[in-house]
């Protein structure tokens, strides 16, 4: 009998321990997912912050440039013909192999190499007639080879870099003529079809404009609505209805807001397609309930004694609210707003529906210029088949996550620094 009891207890304690372990495993799994995920993104993406250059020599030959003037003006340099000079600069890298391989040498640099040759001369006009070293943006494939992301042992047929190019690459690498530097152009270039030239400047500006438009539309309306509902609304069927409405709106899938933007903003109001203006308004409809809920919660947290004191001093209801309750609730409201904006920042689907997925290779200067946004850029690039875009996507994700972390930190700081603790 005693033995039986002992066994029974043992069983129960084992069950207890098992149950605890289930909980630990569950948390561990969730954390592992996060860790794997972060590791994947970082290990794939960090190399995108490096850019590969090929160093060669260019001879700014006046004859080849078709410049006649003795001391050419800026315009002459601007209008000169750089094709031959640039072509020669690249083809001079060959190893004395037959002429037919010239095209493959050219393919080792980005298709904009001619512009790069031109820009160097425009910057330093005294290079004219001299032989100077020049850095050219390596093509996407050479870039990937240099970063070691490209398998070299597969048959030549299946490779985008052929044996000849690899041979040249190895030679250049040995000479130290392949440079790897911090990739500034990733942050300053707009989107491009070529992975080595593609940057996030256009989508970054698109995101910034959308968020500003979103803030301008949603914040005032949401705060005013929250003040009304929390401080002035009579308790009746209609205000109940508004409340239920807000709660449900907060849980409507984001893509439905995209349909709203498409069906109303674009089709009825004829706002310009693909622009941060429409994107921002669409997002603001989405963040509206989030901010209202946060603002109401922080209004509710202001203790009634504040209101009573103000009322006792003879302030009207409106004065009490505007002079005391609302300013005291601002830290909570602001941090709720930032969190709502951070959510909007990561939204993709509604922006795709209103056309912000179009290929934009200019940097937008105003909210009514066509633009993409960072999450949409991630989507566009991840649909692209080129290998070079994989690391770009990961790098873009890192920028987006950094942006999100900054915003959440800001929300935390606003909350902890400025919020009054009522005891």
């Amino acid at each position: 009998m005693n033995n039986f009891k002992k066994n029974f207890l043992k069983k129960r304690y084992n069950a207890e321990r098992r149950f605890q372990w289930y909980g630990k495993i569950a948390i561990g799994l969730a954390l592992t997912f996060l860790a794997v995920f972060m590791f994947q993104i970082f290990s794939k993406g960090y190399s995108a912050f490096q850019k590969t250059w090929i160093v060669t020599e260019v001879h700014y030959d006046k004859e080849l440039l078709l410049i006649d003037a003795e001391s050419p003006s800026k315009d002459d340099l601007e209008n000169a013909d750089y094709y031959d000079v640039a072509y020669k600069a690249m083809t001079s890298l060959d190893l004395g192999l037959p002429e037919e391989e010239d095209r493959q040498l050219i393919q080792m640099v980005s298709y904009k190499y001619e512009t790069e040759v031109k820009d160097l001369l425009l910057k330093n006009p005294d290079f004219l007639g001299k032989i100077v070293p020049i850095k050219l943006t390596a093509s996407d494939d050479i870039d990937q080879v240099h970063k070691g992301n490209y398998p070299r042992d597969i048959p030549e047929k299946n490779r985008r870099v052929n044996d000849y190019q690899l041979q040249i690459y190895d030679m250049l690498n040995e000479r130290g003529d392949i440079l790897s530097e911090f990739n500034i152009s990733f942050f300053t270039n707009p989107d491009s079809r070529e992975a080595e030239l593609a940057g996030i400047a256009s989508s970054f500006m698109g995101t910034v404009f959308s968020i500003l438009v979103c803030l301008a539309f949603s914040f005032p309306v949401a705060v005013l609505a929250a003040i009304y509902l929390e401080e002035f609304a009579p308790k009746n069927k209609f205000t109940d209805f508004i409340e239920v409405n807000i709660n449900n709106l907060a849980a409507v899938p984001s893509i439905v807001f995209g349909l709203l933007g498409l069906g109303v903003l674009l089709a009825v109001f004829n706002l310009p397609r693909s622009t941060p203006l429409v994107g921002g308004i669409t997002l603001s409809l989405m963040t509206l309930p989030t901010i209202i809920i946060a603002a109401r919660a922080s209004l509710k947290a202001v203790p009634p004694s504040i209101r009573e004191a103000a009322l006792a001093m003879g302030a009207s209801n409106m004065q009490t609210t505007m002079h005391h309750t609302v300013p005291l609730s601002m830290p909570g409201t602001l941090s709720g707003t930032i969190i709502g904006l951070a959510q909007a920042l990561g939204e993709t689907a509604p922006l795709i529906l209103i056309g912000m997925v179009a290929f934009v290779n200019t940097i937008p200067g105003t909210p009514v210029d066509p633009a993409a946004s960072l999450p949409v850029q991630i989507y566009i690039w991840s649909e692209s088949a080129e290998r070079g875009f994989v690391e770009k996507v990961s790098a873009c994700i890192m920028v987006l996550l950094a942006f999100l972390i900054l915003m959440n930190l800001a929300a935390q700081i606003v909350r902890h620094k400025f919020e009054k603790k009522w005891s």
């Binding site: 304690y13 569950a26 993104i41 005013l224 003040i227 807000i246 409809l285 990561g346 949409v376």
Partner: protein
């Protein structure tokens, strides 16, 4: 023009604020003020700006459609369809703006002239009316300032109205959603029978595309059956729940019942990071890492796995949803009164027995509510499915094949340029409204369950 008018109104409002305040100081020298001087300013400013801006807004909304009716009146005797009329109107507008490139008929030219004329009349009328209103309302307001009427109450009532109108914003958004979806969906259901949409088992909208003229009604019948999409949506949501419910629930229980303060303080926000990661990032992860991984494992076991499988998308979606379930169930479990636990411990139950037999049943309604919210989230999730689960609408229950969902099809249909009036475009709105109804249904149930649960223990 409009910008100048609005700036003028706003500037005038500012000036009248200062003017009103000054006036109050003047009044102060002879009689007692009824409110602080600034309220005199607010009063004037509100009377100046509000009526003029309201009229301005109404005018801007209605002017285009009125002008349109006037222009199209000339075409009523030609028996044109609605679309043709719309086309003519667009042409007229382009011609008037000088951007028209097609060939110009006499009739069009006349209409364009008429359009320019009408626009001119409308513009000057607008300016005249708004100026008149400004003068009228300002003089009215100034008279009551002069009489030294009560100033604070009207200002506060006005402010209250502003607040009330703002709170209607959320309602307006809902109305906007419902109407924009319904409007297009109804037109879709005029072309496709609602029965075919809800019960049809074949979704292939691309085949109804016809360059000119109407698509064949027989084709339409078979192309818009949404059953594969409904099935795919719930199937992927089901896979997601298979991942999210056990992990989320167990970690929620552990965090609320077992974890010490230290673990709780750090583990909870870290898990919640999972909910803050944008979905497009999960989509990329699912497509690039999880999809090929699942395929490799499947192939190693001798199974036929497509690179874009429902399993990959569902599993990643499940990871995304973990924090929803864990923090909601954590809250719900923490809300269970302590005396239930104490009672159970007093009877000699271990902690896990208490959790399983006392706390879990007590918290069940709240947990069910949080799971329903999570399901609604999974049903509405878009980017993961678009990127990781393929776009072909297969009617399948095999997690290793690719399936499509409602949300993914909406994106597929509407990406790029859309043509309104095409049944394919309209079908996206029909899908949208079914999605809206499903999620609304889930949310309403979930919220009411959670609310009832809260009330029970408060």
């Amino acid at each position: 023009m409009n910008l100048i008018l609005v700036t003028f109104i706003i500037l005038l409002a500012f000036t009248s604020y200062y003017f009103g305040r000054k006036k109050a100081l003047v009044i102060q020298s002879s009689q007692r003020l009824t409110a602080l001087p600034k309220f005199y300013g607010y009063y004037l400013a509100a009377w100046c700006a509000a009526p003029a801006l309201i009229i301005f807004a109404l005018w801007s909304v209605f002017e285009p459609s009125i002008v349109k009716t006037f222009i199209l009146q000339d075409y009523t005797d030609q028996n044109l369809t609605k679309n043709e009329l719309q086309l003519i109107y667009t042409k007229v507008k382009a011609l008037a703006a000088g951007t028209y490139t097609g060939n110009i008929t006499n009739f069009l030219d006349e209409s364009a002239n008429k359009y320019i004329q009408l626009k001119g009349i409308a513009n000057s009328a607008k300016v005249a009316i708004i100026l008149a209103i400004l003068i009228f309302s300002l003089s009215f307001a100034y008279r009551s300032v002069q009489k030294n009427d009560r100033m604070r109450e009207p200002v506060e009532i006005f402010l209250k109205w502003v607040l009330f109108v703002a709170s209607l914003g959320a309602v307006l958004v809902t109305i906007g959603i419902v109407f924009s979806l319904l409007f297009e969906a109804i037109r879709f259901f005029q072309a496709v029978k609602i029965f075919d949409f809800i019960f049809g088992t074949h979704w292939y909208p691309a085949k109804t595309f016809v360059r000119d003229g109407q698509p064949d009604p027989e084709l339409m019948k078979d192309a818009f059956g949404a059953v594969p999409l409904f099935a795919g949506t719930f199937f992927i949501a089901f896979i997601a729940m298979c991942v999210a419910i056990p992990i989320g629930l167990l970690s929620g229980i552990y965090l609320s019942e077992y974890a010490g303060r230290g673990i709780r303080k750090y583990a909870k926000p870290i898990i919640e990071i999972l909910a803050g990661i944008p979905t497009v990032v999960y989509g990329f992860f699912a497509a690039l890492t999880v999809g090929p991984f699942v395929k490799e494992i499947g192939n190693a076991m001798g199974l036929e796995v497509s690179a874009e499988s429902a399993l990959a998308a569902g599993a990643v979606m499940g990871v995304m949803i973990i924090p929803f379930i864990s923090s909601l169930s954590d809250d719900v479990i923490t809300a269970v009164p302590q005396n239930l636990r104490d009672g159970s411990y007093a009877m000699g139950a271990t902690k896990s027995e208490t959790v399983k037999k006392v706390i879990f049943p007590a918290a069940l309604p709240g947990i069910v509510g949080s799971i329903l919210l999570a399901v609604s989230r999974a049903v509405g999730e878009t980017m993961i499915v678009v990127m990781a689960s393929g776009l072909a609408a297969n009617l399948t229950m095999n997690p290793l094949e690719s399936t499509s969902t409602i949300t993914a099809q909406i994106v597929v249909i509407l990406i790029g340029d859309q043509q309104f009036g095409d049944p394919k475009t309209q079908s996206a709105f029909a899908l949208g409204i079914s999605l809206f109804i499903v999620t609304l249904f889930l949310n309403v149930i979930a919220l009411s369950v959670v609310k009832k649960y809260r009330e029970k223990y408060e």
